[in-house]
Amino acid sequence: MRNQYKTYPLIITNIESQNALVKVFTLMPEDRKNIKCATDEKKIIKCWVPGQFISISIPGFGEAPFAICSSPNPCNEFQICVQKKGGLTSKFFSMSVGDEIDFRGPYGNGFPISKLSKRNLLLIAGGLGLAPLRPLIQIIANHAAEFGKVQLFGGSREEKMMLFKNEYGAWRKNIELNLTLDIPNENWNGSTGLVTALFDKIPISKNAIAIICGPPVMFPAVIKKIKKKGMAEKNIYLLLERRMHCGVGICQHCVLVNGKYVCKDGPVFNYAELKDSPGAI
């Protein structure tokens, strides 16, 4: 019987510091076969779907789920974005290129890629929420003709907390980037305030599909705002974060009131699925 908790080795092949608290790790499985493959109909994506997560472990420090933050092409390696918060992530920060860690997964359902084709997109990210959106952004950047108009609304606390800054130039070619900072510094010439405030200044495209990733506190305000701007509820998708232990729908840590498991049925949900589930957002 296959052991669903068995982990497989990964080699750290690159570490890139985003800021004092966030680093991007590039990880390569020792054996490619150990990544379970998920393929969408259009074959744009192999190996994993943007929005899926992976369970990473360091022996002695336990396991934790991380969103995969790199596009699945190529799929012999992937990246995760780690924010220093607890024991496992602190240990992560002390590791170097060449060190070995473990993984299992990927798990969950990613963004509904087939539903996104030819559509206008509204990507909304708060803080670290930009990480799970990045693989989608990279796919859009390489397959612009497959999508309609794409807008990204991103909010960070301070400029030094902004993620993937050196990629914005490339993204802008195909994506309208609207960024805001809670606490701007003197060099900042973008918007200030919360991401919700951006919607009062910048019109959103008609008939778009919205994907929201960010801290739990952000969801209600953003949803209220975009609904006011004409966004249909059925076109809103959210990526939820929950405590996870098993990753396969058994341990109960990630369950929502409506009986859905964030690990197995999510982490990406359509807003309609969550409306009957108080506390989900």
């Binding site: 982990t7 002695g60 396991e63 801290p215 840590h253 369950v255």
Partner: protein, 356 residues
């Protein structure tokens, strides 16, 4: 089979190197203990406060460890011993059926199950137990090897077998006066009973109602109910460092959804915030999620949770309240009807309620 035959059978199993766990009376309480002396054995018919759960799903289990290579990839077969759960009641057999479904793909659980001989018995009704009427035909949905049936104070027990293994054991022991019951799968053909279907709908419907507000105020979140419950299986996985032999183990340990950090994520946000959230989550797991996912009731009605609850919460009474729950008419929504449909008053059909 008589009580003295049972003693001989215990002796027979001990000689076969089985570890036998069975209910015994200790300081007035019924507890499960290892039986090492067949002469002292007698079949206790009351259900023990703690179920057999931890003999199948140990409260703490090492998944991997760095101490030995073979252990790195899963179960260490050598560490699992042949065991007998002797005198497991129908409540607990029902719980085992459910756990076997939930942990169907779990090698740790399945390895233990494969080394376990289940000897069931019909229970005598307890004060707090409910909705389990013992009838012969429920046995076909339980995985057991041997079943001892006694009615009233009858001295000669009827014996059933539920597996080839059980038959083989009895034959070797030299007993052949048994009937065989063919296993018909955990889920009865008709699926959930009407009672459980209704309980499921009512539990969903009653979310946020006074039932849960009251329970939220009463419950202390002590987690005792989840420990004694034979169907509670939530767990956490974490790493344990042993500084004495410099080893690291990934362990799986029982967790309780009543623990305040159960739903907490890095950064401190909790999603089961209040006691009301937690107790609703507990009940809805048993009455809604498990029935939805496995087509089986999530509560076997043993009444153990009521026995241990320091706040005096009795699940039987709560089920009664939930079943009686009626949603208030959504008056607010009435105004949304177009006046057109309201203009012509419909002729009222008289419905006579059937006398109960």
């Amino acid at each position: 089979m008589t009580n003295s035959d049972l003693k001989l059978f215990v002796e027979f199993l001990l000689n076969k190197n089985y570890t036998i766990h069975s209910p015994v009376r200790k300081n007035g309480k019924i507890v499960i203990r290892e039986i090492t002396d067949s002469r002292k054995f007698s079949l206790i018919k009351e259900r023990p406060l703690y179920s057999f759960k931890n003999f199948l799903l140990p409260d703490k289990k090492t998944l991997f460890s760095t101490t030995s290579d073979e252990n790195k990839n899963g179960n260490d077969q050598k560490l699992i011993r042949k065991q007998v759960l002797f005198g497991i009641t129908v409540f607990d057999l029902r719980a085992v059926s459910l756990l076997s479904q939930i942990f169907e793909k779990d090698p740790y659980f399945q390895d233990i199950i494969s080394m376990t001989l289940f000897i069931g018995q019909s229970p005598i009704p307890e004060e707090n137990s409910f909705y389990e009427k013992y009838e012969e035909n429920i046995l076909e949905h339980f995985k057991f090897d041997i079943f001892i049936e006694s009615r009233g104070d009858q001295k000669d027990f009827r014996i059933f077998t539920g597996s080839k293994h059980g038959q083989k054991m009895l034959n070797e022991f030299g007993y052949d006066d048994f009937e065989h019951i063919e296993y018909a799968g955990a889920v009865p053909e008709e699926g959930l009973s009407d009672f459980h279907k209704k309980l499921k709908e009512k539990t969903k419907l009653s979310y946020g109602s006074k039932i849960w507000k009251d329970l939220g105020k009463k419950c202390l979140g002590c987690d005792k109910c989840t420990i004694v419950c034979p169907t509670c299986f939530c767990f956490k996985i974490y790493d344990e460092n042993n500084i004495f032999n410099d080893s690291i183990a990934r362990v799986r340990q029982w967790d309780s959804c009543f623990n305040s950090e159960f739903s907490e994520i890095a950064g401190g946000t909790k999603f089961l915030k209040t006691m009301e959230d937690r107790i609703y989550n507990w009940y809805s797991h048993k009455f809604v999620r498990i029935p939805d996912e496995y087509n089986l009731p999530g509560c076997v009605g043993c009444g153990r949770c009521a026995d241990v609850c320091p706040a005096g919460i009795n699940i039987k009474d709560e089920i009664f309240k939930i079943m009686k729950f009626k949603a208030k008419k959504p008056i607010a929504k009435m105004s949304k009807f177009k006046s057109k449909t309201l203009k012509k008053p419909r002729t009222k059909k008289l419905i006579y309620e059937k006398p109960i």
